[in-house]
């Protein structure tokens, strides 16, 4: 079963990962998503992991790598819906297993994504850093 890539609007994709995705499924998700983002010039992607009740170090690496690939292409990424028990195991396992902007839920992820895109557009084209744009990390 392939991971669906849902188009929200002209520049945003929503990707709900399902609980029973296996390693091959995860890799095809990664390549499907990067191809789609490049082809459609998608600006922002929300990866919804709320269905995942286990995120092991492999899955964490795939999420990090995918976010990095999408950023290289020019898109912004937010991961949403990390379950509390998953956050706990990731912290206990140690190291920065998930190094991606996150949000509680889809709604907040979309808000955060819009800010990230705005910040990227307003930022220094070389570093992507903010140059007087609103603080992306400010609370809602």
């Amino acid at each position: 079963m392939r991971v669906p890539l849902l188009r929200l609007n002209a520049h945003t994709l929503i990707v709900p990962l399902h609980a029973d995705v296996d390693d091959e499924g995860v890799l095809s998700f990664q390549s499907d998503l990067t191809e789609r983002v490049a082809q459609d010039q998608v600006r922002g992607v929300v990866i919804d992991v709320s269905a995942l009740d286990v995120v092991d170090s492999y899955m964490a690496r795939v999420l990090n790598d995918t976010a990095r690939m999408l950023r290289i292409l020019g898109a912004c990424v937010v991961v949403c819906g990390v379950q509390p028990a998953v956050a706990l195991t990731l912290v206990e396992m140690g190291r920065n297993l998930v190094d991606v902007p996150t949000a509680f839920n889809l709604e907040r992820a979309l808000v955060r994504l819009e800010r990230l895109i705005a910040a990227t557009d307003a930022g220094d084209p070389l570093t992507g850093h903010l140059t007087g744009a609103p603080d992306e990390y400010a609370n809602d």
């Binding site: 492999y58 206990e92 140690g94």
Partner: protein, 134 residues
């Protein structure tokens, strides 16, 4: 006492091992955090067996008694073994391009962690132990 054995031959077996681990943890009364720790640890070890030894076997055992809940997973493979166990158990070490959190990370999730590795393969045994609440 019950034992479940899951043969690990491909990545769908990994899902089965993970699901069985969580189901057993839930059945014997562990909370959702411990269920997740155990399922995640089983996932890490089973993946190691698949990636480094092209397969193996996962045995889940309920060793609980009246005083405590004791849940064990033993993952064994007949792969080439780990050359340098100390290195494999140190943070940041990985030969397969993962983040190197596999074995030391797994150890931090559980209460007992035992690993033996030689030319005949690798056996990792983990346990989560909780005192029963009466």
């Amino acid at each position: 006492m019950s034992t479940q054995t899951i043969e690990l031959a491909n990545s769908s077996d990994l899902l089965r091992a993970r699901l069985a681990a969580r189901a057993l943890a839930k059945e014997i009364g562990l909370g959702v955090m411990d269920q997740t720790r155990f399922a995640t640890a089983v996932s890490e070890l089973s993946r190691n067996a698949l990636v480094y030894a092209s397969g193996g076997r996962c045995e889940l055992r309920d060793l609980s008694d009246h005083a405590q809940i004791r849940l064990q997973a033993e993952v064994r493979d007949s792969g080439p073994g780990i050359d340098d166990l100390q290195q494999a158990m140190s943070d940041g070490f990985s030969t397969s391009g993962s983040l190197g959190a596999g074995l030391p990370g797994t150890q931090r999730l559980v209460d007992h962690f035992d690993i033996q590795s030689g030319t005949g393969g690798t056996v990792v045994c983990i346990q989560i132990v909780r005192r029963r609440r009466h």
